[in-house]
Symmetry: C2
Subunit: 457 residues, 2 copies
């Protein structure tokens, strides 16, 4: 089809937007391993999860049977503020590369949170409000999730307490101010406001914090404050469920023009974007109705899929959360300080971990300097300044499109562009100034972290 | 019409996008006063303008007769990367305010430059390339124009030299890095690289620069370097012509649903956004086919429309540019340092100045703390974090919508949301911390600046 037939940006009409999320777990042959209790090692029950998460979200977390879960009207109304997001045909990039490949990307950065995180934030805020809660707590690292959640809470008039990794709090004051604009309270973590925070500060005075530590503080406040629950922006089954809106819209847009992708590429940190993007495609693949290459891209400096162990592990440093079976580098793993490219979480969504273990998807680890080079190459022709996280997917999409130049194959490549890089210019500056280098953890280092995995059968 | 009939976001189809810009001057009864030569005080000719601006752009600058000028296919292809921009129905805001008013805004922030500036940047870069030039020079203050131009130049493989007001260069390193990502060279102004820069540095050692000074440096480099021309992001007739795409799309989207606005509101600095947004509506108004209230909103600390003089003035501090007849505060006027809200230019587009003088539009000056309060009120329900500049229009739109609560009138309000505030969080932080105050220049101060106006009859 020609440019006249397929527009630069495919927008669904509002009445073509999905009315239900797709729960891939219902169609998985091997279900993801359940969350287990850190003490008893038994699967977590609804009763055990309810003090931490909103009740409806606990049900979604445990639901491995219903393939579709209706999106409440209030959430669909909110989605209409910034969705459907465009599926963009990268005509300019194709021309620049001289590739016969057809490149499409689903752009989730056209909302103020700057990323796809808002898709789940609004759902989680809605269920919290519906349960009559006063507020929610969470952690944020780079700030995309915290921003999304503060927007969602402001919309439903819920209190929002964000624990922000101290180093980000200090280095990203702008992210903090966006959250404050939306009325959230933002506390640098570790803080003196929680028991676990105090303990960590005593043991490690002057620490600049970590995501695992901020999670522990947020969970403590949620479980010790009446009317509050904890919410999380990735890893969990419920989050992948909400993010399926990305994949459903992508598939609907492609179907509208009769386009069948050869490969679907997404970046993977905790897995929220990737899990959402691939959901309906993976569903078809599992049922044998279609065959797609599905590729997860992760940083070489935090390679949970490609070099991690598939094992039960802690989700947080404070070890207060349930254990999850996932590809993990060990809950104490923190990428080297020179790693600027996001996707820093030590583990990976249990759903994606199971699919990867079943051989239904591939994973590639890429060095950060090549990621930023790809980001710049993309930005200059497609006009969008991508987030470093998203640029991992760009890097592999470009590589695949360049292969087609050599082979002459007209492959159809779809990738997820999860967000914008406006708040990541410090990293771009490092790249421009040639002071960014690549770090690959040694096997010895990884072994040290693997040794801290909890002893579960 | 109901929510089911009018969507949250009205997107035109690609084939409904304008194929020609609308040149309002052709329909103006009193034409805007011509640019005149600073020495002879005679209208500038094509020959005199050509060493400074690209030839095709000079023709557009002087064209007061053709109502439509075709948009070249190459520019239309680029527009498709980020246009049509959505016309958004502010259902959430209306509900929050409990107003019977119907509020629409045209959102121009959904591209990496973060604003409407790209609409003219790509046109100016195209004509420079077509003329076989090597590159262009420009100035930037807050950085929106510089970012847009560097994106445009990167697309057409043109060199781009940006003179960035030194205080912004230092306080907005992220803006600088975005421009570098797009391959532009960015020089803090005043600099040692130009004669005028050296002169200013000698006279005012340690100065942090001004827009007028950066313009002078950029013009000097353009006119003294073979293969270069100067480009400007506002004020000029050609810029308003390119920006008419905003108004044309807005009108087409409204017409599609049979909506007739009662008022059209836009922020006004140099006039590029406002002039573009109102163009087709003003054209109808001039012809007597419709009556709209058209409202320019400017900051109280830089009140060119509401307190300026309508007179010939210099466009730049170095007095190297042609003189323009406009509402002006005097070319040495710089808003007080506490002014964080953008729209800092001392003058106003000659087209808009003439329309205002003819009584065809209104102007309102607003204090910056109220602008930021309106920005926050808007962000919390509509999800978009607005630029301080755009928030001037939001402030007046909110005021008008609140009046309708009292009167019960179902007015249709359309305003221009020119861009996002991601790079303005320092200003938001000041507002949150309660350290932002309002400044209104005294009559005595203004008289001092008026005294520097050049003596042109």
């Amino acid at each position: 089809m020609t440019k006249e037939q397929i527009p630069y940006k495919i927008y669904l009409e509002e009445d073509e937007m999905p009315k239900a999320w797709y729960n891939l777990r219902a169609d998985m042959i091997n279900k993801p391993a359940p969350l287990i209790h850190p003490g008893t090692h038994q699967p977590m029950t609804l009763e055990e999860l309810s003090p931490v998460f909103c009740e409806e979200l606990c049900k979604q977390e445990l639901n491995n049977t219903d393939p579709f879960i209706e999106i409440p009207q209030e959430i669909r109304d909110f989605y209409k503020m910034y969705r459907p997001s465009p599926l963009i045909r990268a005509y300019c990039l194709e021309e620049k590369l001289g590739t016969p490949a057809k490149i499409y990307y689903k752009f989730e950065g056209n909302n103020t949170s700057g990323s796809h995180k808002l898709n789940s934030a609004i759902a989680q805020a809605y269920y919290a409000k519906k349960q009559g809660l006063k507020g929610v707590t969470t952690e944020t690292g780079a700030g995309q999730w915290g921003t999304a959640l503060s927007m969602a809470c402001s919309y439903f008039d819920l209190d929002c307490k964000v624990f922000m990794v101290k180093v980000s709090y200090e280095q990203k004051p702008f992210r903090r101010e966006v959250m404050r604009t939306y009325g959230a309270s933002v506390t640098p973590s570790p803080s003196e406001t929680t028991q676990i925070g105090k303990k960590i500060l005593e043991a490690h005075p002057g620490t600049t914090g970590s995501l695992g530590c901020a999670i522990s503080e947020a969970v403590e406040v949620a479980t010790s404050t009446p009317g509050y629950r904890y919410v999380l922006g990735s890893v969990l089954n419920q989050v992948l469920l909400h993010q399926s809106i990305i994949g459903l819209e992508t598939k609907a847009a492609l179907d509208k023009y009769g386009i069948k992708p050869d490969m679907i590429i997404g970046c993977a940190g905790g897995g929220s974007n990737l899990g959402g993007l691939i959901a309906p495609f993976m569903g078809e693949k599992i049922k044998g109705n279609a065959d797609y290459r599905i590729i997860a891209v992760e940083p070489q400096s935090c390679p949970s899929f490609t070099r991690g162990k598939y094992a039960y592990d802690f989700a947080d440093t404070g070890m207060v959360c349930p254990l999850a079976k996932m590809y993990t580098l060990g809950s104490n793993f923190i990428p080297a300080p020179n790693h600027a490219g996001g996707l820093r979480y030590h583990g990976m969504s249990p759903v994606l971990s199971q699919l990867y273990d079943d051989g239904l998807m591939e994973a590639i680890a890429v060095p950060q300097t090549e990621v930023f080079a790809a980001a710049e190459e993309f930005a200059r022709v497609e006009g969008i300044l991508p987030a470093p996280e998203s640029s991992h997917a760009i890097k592999v999409a470009l590589d695949e499109a360049k292969k087609c130049v050599e082979t002459g194959e007209e492959k159809t490549i779809v990738f997820g562009l999860t967000g914008t890089g406006y708040f990541d210019m410090v990293a771009y500056e490092k790249y421009h100034n040639g002071v960014m280098d690549d770090y690959i953890p040694t096997d010895e280092e990884l072994e040290k972290y693997f040794a801290t995995l909890p002893p579960v059968e």
